[in-house]
């Protein structure tokens, strides 16, 4: 596999004026929503999905991907300057980042976060180049039983890696699976849980679900808190160059964070939040003097910020090679591809190399843009933080509504959006993360389809799942992952890992 020839194809496809423009739009939007607390990449991508109908597939993916990793850059700014995470993946950055800012080292913290992210982004891109082609080649051998076992592994890993209670994560995935059952059954043509509503024959729509549960719920949650003025610590451009000591203290953390993030990004159920938390834990563990953490340790910024960006890039690998979305954002990207008539999976690389390598190349270009957007232009983003939310929310809500309605011109979808918003709010109040539910909703129907198809192929013999080597290996892996939760010793480790 000639990586350089492929990358040349990619840069050729990504470096057209139109695609550069959309990469820039994505990166600026991503930074914007990253900086602003209260709106994250999931609702943003969901809201923008309908806009991408009119674009060509590569431009639309380049833009949506830019929003995702752009948010990883922007999120750190708010964490450091306001002590309020702009993004969930920047929560840990608050701990030491804001302390640094209080000590007058805001510039160093911002610069290390941005440069660490840039390094991690480049490495993440190389990771994709190295791992995607062999994985895609493997995926071409996948039959129905293998896909079923892959989904099983994906869902089980999602449970193990989910934040908080295992029981709640399992419950959320099961609810997602149940929502996924709604609609016409592929094998028998029978309609399930449709209650005579013909809109439900093709299943619940994805957009009302994600926009209701993420977009609208975020607005409600934020409105619950009084709109206090946020006081940002100011940072000037000339303060942005970190000292030699800062460089010296942080480069190892950047390397560790990048490696860890790249690995955790690939795992199903993993992603940016997990990567940043894990990186912080690791930094604290390996530090000679852990008591410095929480008081402005630069490693506590460098590690997690590198990790979340590396994970943002590598989480594209399972989607682009196996057709398996590893988290809710990737499920949205899968939706964006299917809207364009592209079935995500190994076929993308062979049938649309320009698309695959173009997206990879655009990530590198986008990371370069983001360093420029985030460092010299930091003042603009800080000003945005003084924007009162009472102006912002009606606009976001309006976008949510237009986005859902325009997909199908059907007002029933509005009712679904409102219903999911209510449901999502109840979940939040109960302390349940909605992200595993979306994963269950996306993977559930695929899993059921492949399970039943395999059994039709084997004429009802379940041994088909262990007779095929790929499927058998995946099931063994799943069993090992289950052991992680069930065995008390290992369970303790997991709880410790999520302590932070």
């Amino acid at each position: 596999m000639d990586v350089f020839a492929n990358l040349a194809t990619g840069f050729g496809a990504a470096a057209t004026l139109q695609n550069l423009w959309f990469a820039l739009i994505g990166c600026v939007l991503g930074t914007l929503i990253g900086v602003l607390p209260g709106i994250g990449p999931i609702p943003t991508i969901a809201i923008l999905l309908p806009v991408t109908y009119g674009l060509n597939p590569l431009s639309s993916l380049v833009m949506l991907a830019g929003i995702y990793y752009g948010a990883q850059y922007g999120g750190s700014t708010t964490s450091i300057l306001v002590n309020m995470p702009g993004e969930a993946s920047s929560i840990v950055t608050c701990i030491d980042g804001h302390q640094m800012a209080k000590q007058g080292r805001a510039g160093s913290a911002l610069a290390v976060a941005a440069l660490g992210s840039f390094f991690a982004g480049c490495v993440g891109t190389i990771f994709i180049c190295a791992f995607a082609p062999p994985l895609a080649a493997l995926a071409q051998q996948f039959n129905s039983p293998d896909y079923f076992s892959l989904m099983v592994l994906g869902l089980i890993t999602a449970v193990v890696l989910a934040h908080g209670s295992v029981i709640k994560a399992i419950a959320m995935i099961l609810i997602g699976l149940l929502f996924g059952l709604v609609g016409t059954d592929v094998n028998s043509g029978a309609t399930r849980y449709t209650f005579g509503v013909s809109v439900l024959w093709d299943g619940l729509d994805f957009l009302p679900m994600v926009i209701g549960m993420f977009g609208v719920v975020e607005i409600i949650r934020n409105l619950e808190q009084p709109d206090v003025g946020r006081s940002a610590i100011t940072a000037r451009f000339r303060d942005l160059w970190p000292s030699m000591k800062d460089f010296h203290d942080s480069w190892r953390a950047v390397l560790r964070g990048t490696g860890l993030g790249a690995l955790l990004g690939i795992l199903p159920g993993g992603g940016v939040v997990l990567a940043s938390f894990a990186a912080y834990t690791v930094e604290k563990k390996v530090a000679k003097d852990p008591s410095r953490f929480g008081k402005g340790a630069i490693e506590g910024v460098a590690g997690p910020e590198s990790a979340n960006n590396a994970a943002a890039q590598t989480s594209f690998i399972p989607l682009l090679t196996l057709g398996l979305p590893s988290n809710a954002i990737m499920a949205l990207m899968m939706g964006a591809m299917m809207i364009q008539g592209i079935q995500p999976g190994s076929a993308v690389m062979t049938s649309r190399p320009d698309l695959f390598w173009g997206l990879v190349a655009s990530m590198w270009i986008g990371n370069l843009m983001l360093v420029i957007i985030n460092l010299p232009m930091i003042g603009i983003w800080v000003k945005l933080l003084s924007l009162p939310y009472r102006f912002l929310y009606p606009a976001i809500l309006l976008f949510c509504v237009i986005g859902v309605y325009s997909t199908n011109n059907n007002s029933v979808l509005m009712v679904f959006t409102a219903g999911f918003a209510l449901f999502g709010y109840i979940l939040v109040r109960l302390g349940c993360e909605p992200a595993p539910m979306v994963l269950g909703f996306i993977l559930g129907p695929l899993m059921e389809e492949n399970l039943r198809r395999s059994l039709v192929l084997s004429r009802g013999d379940p041994m088909i799942f262990v007779q095929r080597p790929i499927s058998a290996i995946l099931l063994v892996l799943s069993a090992l992952v289950v052991a992680l939760i069930v065995l008390p010793v290992l369970r303790k480790t997991r709880e410790e890992a999520f302590q932070e």
């Binding site: 051998q141 039959n143 043509g189 013909s198 024959w201 076929a347």
Partner: protein, 327 residues
């Protein structure tokens, strides 16, 4: 008192009728006086959406008005069918969709939302396309007869893939005509069945022409037969099930422009003229060939007759293939 009340009521009714009729007549005279909506029953960006938007782009300059493509997807096309059936019959709502699919909806669903034969009218045909029988290109099987000879002895141990009701019907008719007893395996999309077919888990498949031609070009699959009674100009090399002695049926998908019934004849004729002009072009011939089909041009009354006949045909197909109606 009562009498004058009745009188008043009658006058009001006459006036109301006049008010309702007047704009219809006026519109008929100067059609099109406003933007026209093309209804697409598939989501934006899908293969079918591309087809609808192609015709919107080509018909637009002929009308002198704007054409807006409205996507109303869902419920196997039923949402769009119902929307069009209930739209005003003024020629401003045009349904560009598979007329065969609209005809089939009467038999594929337990409770079709509307009686399409009574509420929808075909004004212009667009194309006709077959479904295709496929085997792995690496297999030694080169003809349908060889396929039959290979899978018949396997009885119910043989398997085949389908991904649409049309594929199910053609698959069932093939089995009835040859005595093959293979078991049908359903897929959501044709492409999902590719790995299973290339690994040998599936003996053959019956799929739409867009997928079949793409996989044939890539060298993955081989096309053995098509479901139309006559060979197509777009791909004359593929034999038909009829000439191979499997079945006399002419199973074809065909696209058309449809309007709600009751649309004034001059308006319907105008739409027919636009579509015939666009469909007849060489560019459209190439475009439609990329979807695996031929241009289809006929006058409105013939098109409507074909539509009504297809409603009956599909009832028969569904009966023969024992498809369970959905819903």
């Amino acid at each position: 008192m009562r009498k004058s009340g009745w009188k008043f009521g009658r006058t009001a009714l006459t006036m109301a009728a006049g008010l309702i009729l007047a704009p219809v007549l006026a519109q008929a005279q100067q059609y099109p006086a406003q933007d026209i909506h093309f209804i697409c029953a598939f989501p934006p960006g899908s293969g079918a959406d591309v087809l609808v938007r192609y015709f919107a782009d080509k018909v637009r300059p002929l009308t002198g008005k704007n054409i807006i493509v409205e996507n109303r997807s869902g419920a196997g096309g039923n949402i769009a069918i119902e929307y069009v059936a209930r739209a005003k019959p003024d020629g401003y709502t045009v349904f560009v969709h598979g007329a065969s699919g609209v005809a089939a909806s009467m038999s594929l669903f337990k409770k079709p939302p509307v009686d399409v034969g009574k509420t929808i009218q075909v004004v212009s045909t667009i194309n006709r396309q077959p479904f295709m029988v496929l085997v792995d290109a690496k297999s030694p099987i080169k003809t349908l007869a060889e396929l039959t000879a290979a899978v018949k002895p396997k009885g119910t141990k043989a398997s085949y893939a389908t991904a649409a009701p049309f594929g199910t019907v053609v698959g069932e008719i093939y089995k009835l005509g040859t005595g093959v007893e293979a078991v049908e395996v359903n897929y959501k999309n044709a492409i999902d069945s590719l790995n299973d077919q290339l690994s040998g888990a599936i003996d053959y498949s019956v799929h739409d022409p867009v997928y079949a031609l793409a996989e044939q070009r890539k060298g993955d699959l081989r096309i053995l037969a098509v479901s139309t009674a006559e060979r197509l100009k777009a791909n004359p090399d593929f034999p038909t099930l009829k000439e191979l002695g499997v079945s006399d049926l002419n199973m074809m998908g065909w696209w058309a422009a449809m309007v709600p019934q009751g649309t004034p004849k001059p308006v319907a004729d105008q739409i027919n003229k636009w579509f015939n002009e666009v469909v007849g072009s060489d560019e459209s011939r190439k475009f439609l060939a990329s979807f695996g089909g031929d241009q289809l041009i006929m006058p409105p009354d013939e098109a409507q007759a074909l539509f009504l006949k297809e409603i009956g045909n599909w009832a028969e197909y569904v009966r023969i293939s024992k498809l369970a109606p959905a819903g």
